[in-house]
Protein backbone atom coordinates (compact mmCIF):
# COMPACT_ATOMS: atom_id res chain seq x y z
CA UNK A 1 0.00 0.00 0.00
CA UNK A 2 1.29 3.43 -0.94
CA UNK A 3 2.29 5.77 1.83
CA UNK A 4 -0.18 8.57 2.35
CA UNK A 5 2.00 11.67 2.15
CA UNK A 6 -0.85 13.74 3.54
CA UNK A 7 -0.88 11.86 6.83
CA UNK A 8 0.04 13.97 9.85
CA UNK A 9 3.58 13.45 11.06
CA UNK A 10 4.61 14.57 14.53
CA UNK A 11 8.22 15.69 14.99
CA UNK A 12 9.29 15.91 18.64
CA UNK A 13 12.50 17.68 19.62
CA UNK A 14 13.45 20.32 22.17
CA UNK A 15 15.67 22.08 19.62
CA UNK A 16 13.76 24.16 17.13
CA UNK A 17 16.61 23.88 14.65
CA UNK A 18 16.35 20.08 14.61
CA UNK A 19 12.58 20.27 14.17
CA UNK A 20 13.19 22.61 11.25
CA UNK A 21 15.77 20.31 9.66
CA UNK A 22 13.53 17.23 9.92
CA UNK A 23 10.52 19.23 8.73
CA UNK A 24 12.42 20.42 5.65
CA UNK A 25 13.69 16.91 4.89
CA UNK A 26 10.17 15.53 5.20
CA UNK A 27 8.88 18.25 2.89
CA UNK A 28 11.60 17.36 0.40
CA UNK A 29 10.43 13.75 0.61
CA UNK A 30 6.89 14.81 -0.16
CA UNK A 31 5.21 14.87 3.25
CA UNK A 32 2.77 17.72 3.53
CA UNK A 33 1.27 17.62 7.00
CA UNK A 34 3.95 18.06 9.63
CA UNK A 35 3.40 19.13 13.22
CA UNK A 36 5.88 19.48 16.02
CA UNK A 37 6.18 19.31 19.80
CA UNK A 38 8.97 20.45 22.12
CA UNK A 39 8.92 17.50 24.55
CA UNK A 40 7.26 14.18 25.28
CA UNK A 41 4.44 15.66 27.33
CA UNK A 42 3.43 18.12 24.62
CA UNK A 43 3.71 15.36 22.03
CA UNK A 44 1.45 13.06 24.01
CA UNK A 45 -1.17 15.79 24.26
CA UNK A 46 -1.05 16.27 20.49
CA UNK A 47 -1.15 12.53 19.83
CA UNK A 48 -4.20 12.13 22.06
CA UNK A 49 -5.88 15.01 20.26
CA UNK A 50 -5.46 13.80 16.69
CA UNK A 51 -4.64 10.92 14.40
CA UNK A 52 -0.96 10.86 13.47
CA UNK A 53 0.55 8.44 11.02
CA UNK A 54 4.10 8.71 12.30
CA UNK A 55 6.08 10.02 15.26
CA UNK A 56 9.71 11.06 14.87
CA UNK A 57 11.12 11.81 18.30
CA UNK A 58 14.32 12.85 20.00
CA UNK A 59 15.24 10.94 23.19
CA UNK A 60 16.79 13.55 25.50
CA UNK A 61 14.07 16.05 26.43
CA UNK A 62 12.55 17.54 29.56
CA UNK A 63 10.25 16.95 31.36
CA UNK A 64 9.22 13.80 29.46
CA UNK A 65 11.89 12.07 27.40
CA UNK A 66 11.34 10.46 24.03
CA UNK A 67 11.77 7.06 25.63
CA UNK A 68 9.04 7.81 28.16
CA UNK A 69 6.87 9.07 25.30
CA UNK A 70 7.48 5.81 23.43
CA UNK A 71 6.45 3.81 26.52
CA UNK A 72 3.29 5.89 26.88
CA UNK A 73 2.42 5.52 23.21
CA UNK A 74 2.89 1.76 23.26
CA UNK A 75 0.85 1.49 26.47
CA UNK A 76 -2.09 3.36 24.93
CA UNK A 77 -4.83 1.32 23.23
CA UNK A 78 -5.46 4.09 20.73
CA UNK A 79 -1.84 5.03 19.97
CA UNK A 80 0.08 1.77 20.30
CA UNK A 81 0.15 0.97 16.57
CA UNK A 82 1.55 4.41 15.59
CA UNK A 83 4.94 4.04 13.88
CA UNK A 84 7.61 5.60 16.08
CA UNK A 85 11.12 6.49 14.93
CA UNK A 86 13.66 7.61 17.48
CA UNK A 87 16.16 10.20 16.18
CA UNK A 88 18.75 10.83 18.86
CA UNK A 89 22.34 11.47 19.85
CA UNK A 90 21.98 8.71 22.47
CA UNK A 91 23.97 6.06 20.68
CA UNK A 92 24.85 3.55 23.39
CA UNK A 93 23.81 0.00 22.58
CA UNK A 94 21.78 -0.13 25.80
CA UNK A 95 19.72 2.82 24.54
CA UNK A 96 19.01 1.12 21.23
CA UNK A 97 18.11 -2.16 22.94
CA UNK A 98 15.89 -0.40 25.50
CA UNK A 99 14.07 1.45 22.71
CA UNK A 100 13.65 -1.75 20.71
CA UNK A 101 12.25 -3.55 23.75
CA UNK A 102 9.86 -0.64 24.31
CA UNK A 103 8.60 -1.08 20.76
CA UNK A 104 10.38 1.56 18.70
CA UNK A 105 9.88 1.11 14.95
CA UNK A 106 13.36 2.28 14.00
CA UNK A 107 16.30 4.20 15.40
CA UNK A 108 18.42 6.93 13.81
CA UNK A 109 21.54 8.25 15.46
CA UNK A 110 22.42 11.94 15.11
CA UNK A 111 23.96 13.41 13.08
CA UNK A 112 22.14 11.81 10.19
CA UNK A 113 21.58 12.61 6.54
CA UNK A 114 18.54 12.75 4.30
CA UNK A 115 19.33 9.35 2.82
CA UNK A 116 19.30 7.70 6.25
CA UNK A 117 16.00 9.33 7.17
CA UNK A 118 14.46 8.31 3.87
CA UNK A 119 15.70 4.73 4.30
CA UNK A 120 14.17 4.43 7.78
CA UNK A 121 10.89 5.98 6.64
CA UNK A 122 10.70 3.38 3.87
CA UNK A 123 11.57 0.60 6.32
CA UNK A 124 8.78 1.69 8.66
CA UNK A 125 6.08 2.96 6.28
CA UNK A 126 6.87 1.17 3.04
CA UNK A 127 7.92 2.49 -0.37
CA UNK A 128 6.92 6.00 -1.36
Amino acid sequence: MAVDLNMPVLVVDDYQTMIRIIRNLLIQLGFKNIEDARDGRQALDKLNGGKFGLVISDWNMEPMTGYELLEQVRASDTLKSTPFIMVTAESKTENVIAAKKAGVSNYIVKPFNAETLKGKLKAVLGEF
Binding site: W59, N95, V96, F112
Partner: protein
Amino acid sequence: MAAAEAAQKIRIAMDQLKATGVRERPLVEVLDLSHQMADAMAAFFGSLDRSIIAEFKYLADFIQKARDEISGLQANDIKDTRLPGASVELDAVVRDTERATETIMTEAEKLMSVEPTDLAAYKADVDAAMMRIFEACSFQDLTGQRVTKVISTLRHIEERVTRFAGALGVTDTKQAETAEEVRARELLLSGPAMNGPSTSQDDIDALFP
Protein backbone atom coordinates in the same frame (compact mmCIF):
# COMPACT_ATOMS: atom_id res chain seq x y z
CA MET B 1 62.20 14.93 90.88
CA ALA B 2 58.82 13.80 89.67
CA ALA B 3 56.20 16.49 89.09
CA ALA B 4 53.80 14.98 91.62
CA GLU B 5 56.52 14.85 94.29
CA ALA B 6 57.54 18.46 93.59
CA ALA B 7 53.95 19.60 93.77
CA GLN B 8 53.50 17.82 97.06
CA LYS B 9 56.62 19.55 98.48
CA ILE B 10 55.32 22.93 97.32
CA ARG B 11 51.95 22.21 98.89
CA ILE B 12 53.58 21.33 102.22
CA ALA B 13 55.80 24.42 102.08
CA MET B 14 52.81 26.64 101.32
CA ASP B 15 50.91 25.13 104.22
CA GLN B 16 53.83 25.83 106.50
CA LEU B 17 54.07 29.43 105.29
CA LYS B 18 50.35 29.92 105.84
CA ALA B 19 50.60 28.46 109.31
CA THR B 20 53.58 30.48 110.44
CA GLY B 21 53.49 33.70 108.41
CA VAL B 22 55.94 34.41 105.57
CA ARG B 23 57.69 37.31 107.29
CA GLU B 24 58.85 35.09 110.13
CA ARG B 25 60.61 32.62 107.86
CA PRO B 26 64.28 33.10 107.23
CA LEU B 27 65.29 34.20 103.75
CA VAL B 28 67.10 30.93 103.14
CA GLU B 29 63.85 29.01 103.50
CA VAL B 30 62.13 31.24 100.93
CA LEU B 31 65.01 30.65 98.52
CA ASP B 32 64.77 26.94 99.18
CA LEU B 33 61.07 27.09 98.37
CA SER B 34 61.88 28.96 95.13
CA HIS B 35 64.30 26.22 94.14
CA GLN B 36 61.67 23.60 94.81
CA MET B 37 59.18 25.47 92.64
CA ALA B 38 61.72 25.82 89.84
CA ASP B 39 62.45 22.09 90.08
CA ALA B 40 58.74 21.33 89.96
CA MET B 41 58.22 23.50 86.87
CA ALA B 42 61.19 21.91 85.10
CA ALA B 43 59.89 18.46 85.96
CA PHE B 44 56.39 19.33 84.74
CA PHE B 45 57.47 20.65 81.36
CA GLY B 46 60.05 17.92 80.99
CA SER B 47 57.35 15.31 81.50
CA LEU B 48 55.30 16.53 78.52
CA ASP B 49 55.38 14.08 75.63
CA ARG B 50 57.71 15.50 73.02
CA SER B 51 55.71 13.75 70.29
CA ILE B 52 52.70 15.95 71.17
CA ILE B 53 54.85 19.01 70.63
CA ALA B 54 55.92 17.55 67.30
CA GLU B 55 52.25 16.94 66.42
CA PHE B 56 51.36 20.54 67.23
CA LYS B 57 54.28 21.72 65.16
CA TYR B 58 53.13 19.52 62.25
CA LEU B 59 49.58 20.84 62.57
CA ALA B 60 50.81 24.42 62.64
CA ASP B 61 52.91 23.81 59.53
CA PHE B 62 50.00 22.05 57.80
CA ILE B 63 47.61 24.89 58.58
CA GLN B 64 50.12 27.41 57.29
CA LYS B 65 50.60 25.35 54.12
CA ALA B 66 46.83 25.01 53.70
CA ARG B 67 46.45 28.76 54.07
CA ASP B 68 49.13 29.30 51.44
CA GLU B 69 47.48 26.79 49.07
CA ILE B 70 44.00 28.23 49.62
CA SER B 71 45.42 31.65 48.89
CA GLY B 72 47.09 30.25 45.77
CA LEU B 73 43.82 28.69 44.66
CA GLN B 74 42.49 32.22 44.13
CA ALA B 75 38.96 31.02 44.82
CA ASN B 76 37.52 34.53 44.75
CA ASP B 77 39.12 35.23 41.39
CA ILE B 78 37.66 31.96 40.04
CA LYS B 79 34.20 32.61 41.53
CA ASP B 80 33.94 36.31 40.80
CA THR B 81 35.77 36.66 37.51
CA ARG B 82 36.82 33.54 35.67
CA LEU B 83 33.66 31.37 35.92
CA PRO B 84 31.24 34.24 35.21
CA GLY B 85 33.49 35.23 32.29
CA ALA B 86 33.42 31.69 30.90
CA SER B 87 29.66 31.57 31.33
CA VAL B 88 29.26 34.81 29.37
CA GLU B 89 31.48 33.45 26.59
CA LEU B 90 29.47 30.21 26.35
CA ASP B 91 26.21 32.17 26.27
CA ALA B 92 27.65 34.16 23.40
CA VAL B 93 28.67 30.96 21.60
CA VAL B 94 25.11 29.62 21.89
CA ARG B 95 23.68 32.95 20.74
CA ASP B 96 26.09 33.23 17.78
CA THR B 97 25.51 29.67 16.61
CA GLU B 98 21.74 30.08 16.91
CA ARG B 99 21.86 33.29 14.92
CA ALA B 100 24.05 31.76 12.23
CA THR B 101 21.90 28.63 12.03
CA GLU B 102 18.79 30.76 11.73
CA THR B 103 20.33 32.78 8.88
CA ILE B 104 21.62 29.72 7.03
CA MET B 105 18.36 27.80 7.35
CA THR B 106 16.26 30.78 6.35
CA GLU B 107 18.37 31.31 3.23
CA ALA B 108 18.24 27.60 2.40
CA GLU B 109 14.46 27.57 2.83
CA LYS B 110 14.16 30.60 0.58
CA LEU B 111 16.19 28.80 -2.09
CA MET B 112 13.95 25.74 -1.77
CA SER B 113 10.89 27.84 -2.46
CA VAL B 114 12.28 29.94 -5.33
CA GLU B 115 10.65 29.21 -8.69
CA PRO B 116 13.33 28.91 -11.38
CA THR B 117 11.17 30.33 -14.14
CA ASP B 118 13.39 33.35 -14.73
CA LEU B 119 16.91 31.94 -14.78
CA ALA B 120 18.66 35.32 -14.42
CA ALA B 121 16.52 36.26 -11.40
CA TYR B 122 16.95 32.75 -9.99
CA LYS B 123 20.75 33.01 -10.27
CA ALA B 124 20.69 36.43 -8.60
CA ASP B 125 18.60 35.01 -5.72
CA VAL B 126 20.93 32.03 -5.36
CA ASP B 127 24.05 34.23 -5.42
CA ALA B 128 22.61 36.61 -2.81
CA ALA B 129 21.53 33.74 -0.56
CA MET B 130 24.94 32.09 -0.87
CA MET B 131 26.70 35.33 0.13
CA ARG B 132 24.50 35.60 3.23
CA ILE B 133 25.26 31.97 4.07
CA PHE B 134 29.00 32.60 3.70
CA GLU B 135 28.72 35.66 5.94
CA ALA B 136 26.79 33.71 8.54
CA CYS B 137 29.51 31.05 8.56
CA SER B 138 31.96 33.62 9.94
CA PHE B 139 30.45 32.82 13.35
CA GLN B 140 32.81 29.85 13.48
CA ASP B 141 35.88 32.11 13.85
CA LEU B 142 34.30 34.02 16.75
CA THR B 143 32.94 30.98 18.53
CA GLY B 144 36.30 29.27 18.12
CA GLN B 145 37.99 32.18 19.92
CA ARG B 146 35.34 32.24 22.65
CA VAL B 147 35.62 28.50 23.25
CA THR B 148 39.41 28.82 23.43
CA LYS B 149 38.97 31.39 26.22
CA VAL B 150 36.66 29.03 28.11
CA ILE B 151 39.12 26.17 27.71
CA SER B 152 41.87 28.42 29.07
CA THR B 153 39.72 29.21 32.13
CA LEU B 154 38.97 25.54 32.74
CA ARG B 155 42.68 24.69 32.50
CA HIS B 156 43.49 27.49 34.95
CA ILE B 157 41.00 26.07 37.46
CA GLU B 158 42.11 22.50 36.83
CA GLU B 159 45.76 23.36 37.50
CA ARG B 160 45.00 25.12 40.78
CA VAL B 161 42.57 22.55 42.08
CA THR B 162 44.95 19.72 41.17
CA ARG B 163 47.84 21.45 42.97
CA PHE B 164 45.63 22.19 45.98
CA ALA B 165 44.38 18.60 46.21
CA GLY B 166 47.91 17.24 45.83
CA ALA B 167 49.44 19.59 48.41
CA LEU B 168 46.82 18.80 51.04
CA GLY B 169 46.52 15.11 50.20
CA VAL B 170 42.83 15.45 49.43
CA THR B 171 41.12 12.21 48.43
CA ASP B 172 37.66 11.92 46.91
CA THR B 173 34.86 10.64 49.08
CA LYS B 174 31.87 8.90 47.57
CA GLN B 175 29.05 11.36 47.05
CA ALA B 176 25.37 10.53 46.85
CA GLU B 177 23.91 10.89 43.36
CA THR B 178 21.97 14.07 42.72
CA ALA B 179 18.35 13.82 41.55
CA GLU B 180 19.54 14.92 38.12
CA GLU B 181 22.16 12.16 37.99
CA VAL B 182 19.63 9.54 39.11
CA ARG B 183 17.23 10.66 36.37
CA ALA B 184 19.99 10.60 33.74
CA ARG B 185 21.03 7.08 34.77
CA GLU B 186 17.52 5.65 34.94
CA LEU B 187 16.42 7.19 31.65
CA LEU B 188 19.68 6.39 29.86
CA LEU B 189 20.50 10.04 29.19
CA SER B 190 24.15 10.43 28.40
CA GLY B 191 24.11 12.75 25.40
CA PRO B 192 26.34 12.63 22.35
CA ALA B 193 29.44 10.46 22.54
CA MET B 194 32.87 11.90 21.80
CA ASN B 195 34.35 11.16 18.37
CA GLY B 196 31.14 9.92 16.83
CA PRO B 197 28.36 7.66 18.02
CA SER B 198 29.09 4.80 20.45
CA THR B 199 27.12 2.48 18.19
CA SER B 200 27.26 3.08 14.45
CA GLN B 201 24.11 3.45 12.37
CA ASP B 202 25.05 0.21 10.58
CA ASP B 203 25.18 -1.69 13.89
CA ILE B 204 21.86 -0.15 14.91
CA ASP B 205 20.37 -1.13 11.55
CA ALA B 206 21.42 -4.72 12.21
CA LEU B 207 19.09 -4.70 15.22
CA PHE B 208 16.17 -3.63 12.99
CA PRO B 209 16.17 -6.17 10.16
